[in-house]
């Protein structure tokens, strides 16, 4: 595939230059010129009013595989100390939908130690088959051993699709599997859809801090791999009477493991990890001092949520980095995000603007945070928060 400018038709209007999300079009001698940064997304083709840009579909992939040999949808069912992570149920919910559209089976890959008994929970949540690799050597997350298990299984059974949560674990070892299998991997998807005919998975993900969405396909390689954001897909319903097969997988590749976990330390100071939280109360430099962060903690506690912060507040040392929301911190999408004393720098918005409901509290009515806020309260966070805590406590009794 390539994108070309037809010089005779180009009027030099520069519409394509601003339409290109990758900055890959320059003006040379009054005509548009496509540079090496082009990803052949076609945004310029649509934007050009003179029809002076063409996208050609020549097939260049030498390593085309026999795609029909690949069948079924797989999800990587993540667990933490034997407890199945909530994102696993979200993946099963989404995986079930995709499998049904393709009239295919849904399988879960379950890796850990002492987890065998939990496999039936995955069946109750929609899996037809669960591949369980249960071994003392798999107790802790290890890139080498986890990717060895999944790569071996995928090479043997040839699934059409494999999904994982876009968690620390999923984002760490999935790329190793994709590299080994020579296939496409799309990070942080928020929407998935499948073409029932071709089986092509349409993977939509935010780019440039969520300001643009891109839909990506893996047309000539299988399995199609994607990591999926937390809290975006709907959890599968539990049905204890569902039937399925549990297949035990022997872990035999211990010799290839070159890394090992010496110690695991839990460290998040409040009850919940912010990427899992349904409600986040976050503060920025507008909170003034470290001491004032206790207001956020109290509100979070009242609502059963977690505390987040901007880079500014973290840099001031008011709260540890693990609480940072935004481009250099975590991306979150809770049901409710309360932003107190946060002006709304683009890097912060990138990490939270897909939250369902956003309440912004800021003194400055022109603060950019209000452009993404469902409800904006113009006022001093230090004045508003105590009143808010009192009101919410009243409601919750």
């Amino acid at each position: 595939m390539s994108v070309q400018v037809i010089p005779d038709k180009c009027t030099g209007c520069e519409t394509c230059v601003s339409a290109c999300p990758f900055g890959a079009i320059e003006m040379r001698d009054g005509k548009a010129f496509i540079t090496e940064a082009c990803t052949v997304c076609g945004a310029c083709v649509e934007a050009c009013e003179s029809k002076a840009i063409e996208k050609t579909e020549e097939e260049g992939t030498a390593a085309a595989k026999d795609l029909s040999a690949y069948q079924g949808v797989w999800v990587f069912a993540e667990q933490h100390k034997g407890g199945i992570s909530s994102v696993s149920f979200e993946l099963l919910g989404e995986g079930r939908k995709l499998a049904d559209k393709r009239k295919a089976k849904l399988s879960a890959v379950f890796i850990g130690h002492g987890i065998k008994d939990k496999a039936k929970e995955l069946i109750a949540h929609g899996a037809d088959i669960v591949y369980v690799a249960d071994d003392p050597a798999l107790k802790d997350f290890n890139d080498d051993s986890y990717s060895a298990v999944l790569t071996t299984l995928a090479a043997l059974h040839k699934p059409e699709i494999i999904l994982a949560g876009a968690t620390a674990i999923g984002r760490s070892f999935f790329p190793k599997v994709a590299a080994k299998l020579y296939t496409g991997l799309t990070a942080d998807c928020t929407v998935l859809d499948i073409d029932p005919e071709t089986g092509n998975l349409h993977q939509t993900r935010p780019a440039f801090g969520g300001n643009i969405l891109a839909t990506i396909v893996t047309p000539h390689h299988r399995p199609q791999m994607a990591t999926v954001r937390h809290k975006v897909m709907k959890k599968a319903e539990r049905n204890a009477s569902r039937k399925g097969d549990i297949v035990e997988v022997k872990f035999t590749t211990a010799g290839d493991v070159r890394t090992r976990v010496l110690k695991t330390v839990e460290e998040v100071s409040e009850t919940v990890n912010i990427s899992e939280a349904d409600i986040i109360v976050a503060g920025g430099r507008g909170m003034g001092t470290a001491k004032n962060f206790h207001l956020l903690e109290e509100l979070a506690k009242t609502l059963g949520g977690a505390v987040g912060a901007t880079r500014g507040a973290v840099d001031e040392g008011w709260i540890p980095y693990s609480h940072q929301v935004g481009q250099t911190g975590k991306t979150v999408c809770p049901k409710l995000y309360i932003a107190a004393g946060i002006s709304g720098a683009i890097q912060h918005l990138a990490g939270m603007q897909s939250s369902d409901v956003i309440i912004a509290i800021n003194k400055d009515p022109n603060a950019p945070i209000f452009s993404v806020a469902t409800y904006g309260i113009v006022g001093d966070a230090l004045e508003v928060l105590p009143l808010m805590i009192r009101k919410f406590k009243e409601i919750r009794g």
């Binding site: 942080d188 890394t259 113009v378 508003v384 409601i395």
Partner: protein, 261 residues
């Protein structure tokens, strides 16, 4: 200890503004910078060199102008700079980028450790690090926030996880990606700037790294972008009015209706 640092040149997103009417990025006059996460990688490499000796080489894959990012790295104190650049690499996705990087790193050779930033701020995929490690056939550890020890071809480091951190040991050579907690990157020195000014960046073409063109660039990329579009506008946005108490009362009522409190 010889270290290779992988860097990427990206648009400075703190300078990127959004046209709220058209939902497109305003790119005019946006400078190119070293991906901020990669600055931590460079700093960590320089600190390890100070402790253990050896050389630090910065490597990037990109168009010819990415040499500027390499010069910035040299200004910080990096010894050598290698630009992997060829028309054949254009349009590479993470797989094809990792392929070229891995081939280029092999060509540079003689390394004990490869360090990269956690992810790049333009793509946010965090995939090129682990994919490159796999293609190099060396171990990989993500999200390193502290290197505790380097000894006898092994390294012990703290890896940030969603719930806390792990202390992990790996054999060397390995590839690690680092998070911002690991250090405070230094500013370029005057001496470094002078060195960068006169520096001739080594450029490696597809042929130089014995790359298979079918696995490079757009041609070698398993993924294709089929559509780019602005996000759907958010539901209604409302700046409330009235006294603070009234505004809180309104918000409380709305949240209650949506069963959020």
């Amino acid at each position: 200890m010889n270290i290779i640092v992988c860097i990427k040149q990206v648009p400075d997103t703190s300078e990127v503004k959004i046209n709220r009417e058209t939902n497109t990025l305003i790119r005019e006059g946006v400078p190119s910078i070293i991906n901020p996460f990669d600055l931590y990688a460079i700093e960590e490499a320089l600190r390890l060199r100070e402790q253990h000796g050896g050389r630090v080489t910065a490597v990037t894959m990109g168009p010819p102008q990415a040499a500027e990012a390499l010069k910035d790295a040299v200004a910080m104190g990096v010894d050598d700079a290698v630009l992997i650049s060829d028309r054949a690499f254009a349009g590479a996705d993470t797989w094809a980028t990792s392929y070229a990087l891995a081939k280029g790193i092999k060509k540079v050779g003689n390394f004990d450790l490869v360090i990269a930033g956690k992810q790049a701020i333009d793509g946010d995929t965090a995939q090129v690090g682990p994919e490159t490690a796999e293609m190099l056939g060396i171990p990989f550890i993500a999200y390193i926030r502290k290197i505790e020890q380097v000894k006898d071809n092994a390294m012990v480091a703290e890896r940030m996880m969603d719930e806390g951190y792990d202390v992990v040991e790996t054999r060397l050579p390995a590839l690690i990606t680092v998070v911002k907690e690991i250090n405070q990157p230094r500013l370029p020195s005057l001496k470094g700037k002078m060195k960068a000014k006169g520096l001739k960046v080594t450029t490696l073409s597809c042929k130089d790294i014995t790359g298979d063109e079918n696995q490079c660039g757009l041609k070698g990329s398993p993924t294709k972008v089929v559509k780019i579009f602005p996000p759907a506008p958010r539901g209604q946005r409302e700046i409330l009015s009235g006294t603070i108490e009234e505004q809180i009362g309104f918000v409380a009522k709305k949240l209650k209706e949506q069963a959020l409190i």
